[in-house]
C-alpha cells in the first residue's frame, strides 16, 4: 500500500513519484503545504470512497500516515464489499 500512497501523494502535490521518499512529512517539501494537504485529502477520499473526519484530516503528517489510512480503508472496503479488484 506504500506504493499506492506514494502515487497518490505525487499526484496531489504534482511532483515526481521519486520525490516521495519514505521520510516525507507535512511541510518537508514546498508542495506539501495546507493547500497541497487538501489535494491529498481529496485524493485519499476518492480512493476510500468516504469523507474523512476533521481529526483524520489534521492527523495526516507523513507518508506512513497516508499508508495506514489507505490500509485501514482497504480493510474496511474488503470487509464491507468483499475482495477489491
Amino acid at each position: 500500500m506504500q506504493n499506492k500512497a506514494k502515487k497518490i501523494m505525487a499526484s496531489a502535490f504534482i511532483v515526481d513519484p521519486a520525490d516521495i521518499h519514505d521520510g516525507l512529512t507535512l511541510g518537508s517539501i514546498r508542495e506539501w503545504d495546507s493547500l497541497g494537504h487538501m489535494r491529498l485529502v481529496v485524493a485519499i477520499e476518492e480512493f476510500l470512497g468516504k469523507t474523512l473526519d476533521p481529526h483524520e484530516v489534521v492527523a495526516i503528517r507523513s507518508l506512513a500516515d497516508v499508508s495506514r489510512l489507505l490500509d485501514a480503508g482497504d480493510y474496511q472496503l474488503t470487509v464491507n464489499h468483499g475482495a477489491k479488484e
Binding site: 520525490d19 495546507s34 487538501m38
Partner: protein
C-alpha cells in the same frame, strides 16, 4: 485623519503577546525615536519586510508617525526580489528579521517591539495631509518592473472609516486576521479597520494546517466576532476544523478570489454567522463592494452593492454606463493615488476618471454587481495575484529556456493554479530543476504548479501569444 489615541488592542495568538492601546503607543514612541536616530524623516520610504506580529504594527505606525511612507512587502520574497524592490522604491531603511539579506547600500534594523518610551509624549495625530502618500503595497513585478500601489492618508482613512460604518463598530469587537499583513485585504480591511475602531485585533496569520485545524478553538477562546479570509482558506477550514462550539462569530467576509455559492452556503452553515462575498482590489484599498447573506441569497459571481463611491460598466462598444454588461469601472473613497514611479501604468488603469478593474460583469438597476470573468491575463492564485508576463520573463532568463508562457489553470482549491509552457534547448534541465531554479528567484505563490514542456508554443495568426490558447493547447496535450 488617524488618531493614535483611539488605537485598539493587538494580540499575537502564536506568541501570546498582547499590546493594549497604551502599550502599543509606548512601543511606537520607542520605535519613533529609533527611526529618528536612523535618520528617517518626512516623505522617506521605509521598506518593512516582516509581518503578522504585534511588532509589525509598532513599525508601521512608528514609520507613519515619522511622516514616512511604509512599503510593506512579502516577508517571503527572495533575496533577489528584495534587492529589486529596494532598487526600485529607493528606501532609506529596511526593517526585517535577521534572516533577510540586506540589499547593498541599505541600512537595516530588526523589527520593533524592544524599545519603549512614554507614548503620551509623542503626537497622537499622524502628521499627514489627506493627499500625502503613506503606504505602498506591491502587487506584482518583484523580479522585474515592480507594480506598487500607492495609498494616501486620505484614501486609507476614507476606506477604513467606511468599513467601520458599514460593518459596524460592535461587530469588530474581536477581529481575527488569518491573512498576511503585506496584503491589502489583510492589512487594510482585516487589521487597520478594527485597530482604528479601537477594537481588539487577534493575529493568527498564515496558520497553516495545524492552525486551521484548531480554528474553532481559536474562535471560541478569543470570542471572535469578525474575520475575513480568502475562499481557499475556507476550503481547508471546512475540511480540517470542527464547527465552533460557541457561536460568537457575527460576520465573516470572504474576498480576493471568486466564492462559489456552494462554498458561501457551507461557510454560513459552519460559522452560523452572516457571510459576505466581498469585491476588493489593492488599488481600492481593498473592500469596494459586498453582498451579505440576509440581504442576498448566495449566487456565483454576486458581489453586491458598492461600499461608498460608484461603479459603472464599459461596454464592448466602449460606452460607459451605470448599468449593463462590460468591464467593471470603479470610483471609490479608497482609490489609490497611482502606481509608484509608474505614471504610464497609472494612466492606463485610470481612464476617463474611472479605475478599470479588468473584471467583466454586469450592474443591474439596483446597483448590484455580478462578476463573470477577467479580461486581464493576471492569474488569481488563492487571492494572490500573479502576473504571467513577469513569469515569462523570469523563466526566459534561464539559459535552457528558449521561450515561456505562463497562464492560469482552473483549480478546485486555489481557484487558479499557476501553469507554464516552456520550450527548452537541447540538454535541458528536468522540470524539478526548473522549479527549483524558479523558487530561488521568486516568492513561493508565483512558482508554477503545472509545467508543460512543449516543442512549440502556439501563436495566433499574427504571431502573438494568446494565453488562453496556450493553456488549452497544454491541457489538451496532458489530458
Amino acid at each position: 485623519m488617524f488618531d493614535l489615541s483611539q488605537l485598539g488592542t493587538v494580540t499575537d495568538i502564536f506568541s501570546g503577546v498582547t499590546l493594549d492601546g497604551t502599550a502599543l503607543r509606548n512601543q511606537i514612541a520607542g520605535r519613533f525615536e529609533r527611526l529618528s536616530s536612523c535618520g528617517v524623516g518626512k516623505g522617506d520610504h521605509v521598506l518593512i519586510a516582516h509581518g503578522g506580529t504585534t511588532a509589525f504594527f509598532v513599525d508601521l505606525l512608528a514609520v507613519w508617525l515619522r511622516g514616512a511612507v511604509a512599503i510593506c512587502v512579502n516577508p517571503g520574497v527572495t533575496a533577489n526580489e528584495l534587492s529589486c524592490l529596494a532598487d526600485f522604491s529607493k528606501p532609506v531603511l529596511l526593517i526585517a528579521g535577521s534572516a533577510a539579506t540586506t540589499p547593498s547600500g541599505l541600512s537595516q534594523i530588526e523589527p520593533g517591539g524592544s524599545e519603549t518610551a512614554d507614548g503620551s509624549l509623542v503626537g497622537i495625530k499622524l502628521p499627514f495631509t489627506a493627499d500625502e502618500q503613506v503606504l505602498v503595497l506591491f502587487t506584482s513585478g518583484t523580479t522585474g518592473d515592480p507594480k506598487g500601489v500607492v495609498h494616501t492618508a486620505g484614501s486609507l482613512f476614507r476606506r477604513v472609516t467606511e468599513n467601520i460604518k458599514i460593518i459596524g463598530h460592535d461587530i469588530l469587537e474581536n477581529t481575527l486576521c488569518v491573512l498576511p499583513t503585506h496584503f491589502g485585504h489583510g492589512l487594510i480591511g482585516n487589521c487597520l479597520t478594527p485597530l482604528m475602531a479601537g477594537q481588539h485585533l487577534h493575529l493568527f496569520v498564515n496558520p497553516g494546517l495545524p492552525g486551521i485545524g484548531r480554528l474553532s478553538h481559536v474562535l471560541d477562546e478569543h470570542k471572535i466576532t469578525f474575520m475575513s479570509a480568502v475562499p481557499s482558506f475556507w476550503k481547508v477550514a471546512l475540511k480540517a476544523a470542527e464547527p465552533p462550539t460557541f457561536r460568537t462569530l457575527k460576520r465573516v467576509q470572504v474576498g480576493s478570489a471568486p466564492l462559489s455559492s456552494q462554498l458561501w452556503m457551507d461557510i454560513m452553515k459552519w460559522s452560523g454567522a452572516q457571510v459576505c462575498n466581498m469585491y476588493g482590489i489593492t488599488e481600492t484599498a481593498n473592500w469596494a463592494a459586498g453582498a451579505c447573506s440576509g440581504d442576498f441569497a448566495p449566487e456565483d459571481g454576486l458581489v453586491g452593492r458598492m461600499w461608498g463611491g460608484s461603479a459603472a460598466v464599459k461596454t464592448m462598444s466602449g460606452v460607459i454606463s451605470k448599468t449593463g454588461e462590460g468591464e467593471i469601472l470603479l470610483r471609490t473613497p479608497g482609490m489609490m493615488a497611482g502606481y509608484l514611479f509608474r505614471d504610464d501604468l497609472t494612466a492606463a488603469a485610470m481612464l476617463e476618471g474611472w479605475y478599470h478593474t479588468g473584471d467583466w460583469g454586469t450592474i443591474d438597476e439596483g446597483g448590484v454587481i455580478r462578476l463573470s470573468g477577467r479580461i486581464k491575463s493576471e492569474i488569481n492564485r488563492a487571492g494572490m495575484k500573479v502576473l504571467p508576463e513577469e513569469l515569462d520573463l523570469l523563466m526566459e532568463r534561464h539559459p535552457s529556456v528558449l521561450e515561456a508562457c505562463a497562464f492560469g489553470v482552473p483549480d478546485p482549491l486555489l481557484g487558479e493554479a499557476v501553469g507554464i509552457a516552456v520550450r527548452l534547448a537541447e540538454q535541458a534541465p528536468t522540470v524539478k530543476e526548473l522549479r527549483e531554479w524558479c523558487a530561488e528567484r521568486i516568492r513561493s505563490e508565483c512558482v508554477p504548479e503545472r509545467w508543460f514542456v512543449v516543442s512549440e508554443i502556439p501563436k495566433t495568426d499574427r504571431g502573438k501569444l494568446n494565453r488562453d490558447r496556450v493553456r488549452n493547447f497544454c491541457m489538451d496535450k496532458s489530458a
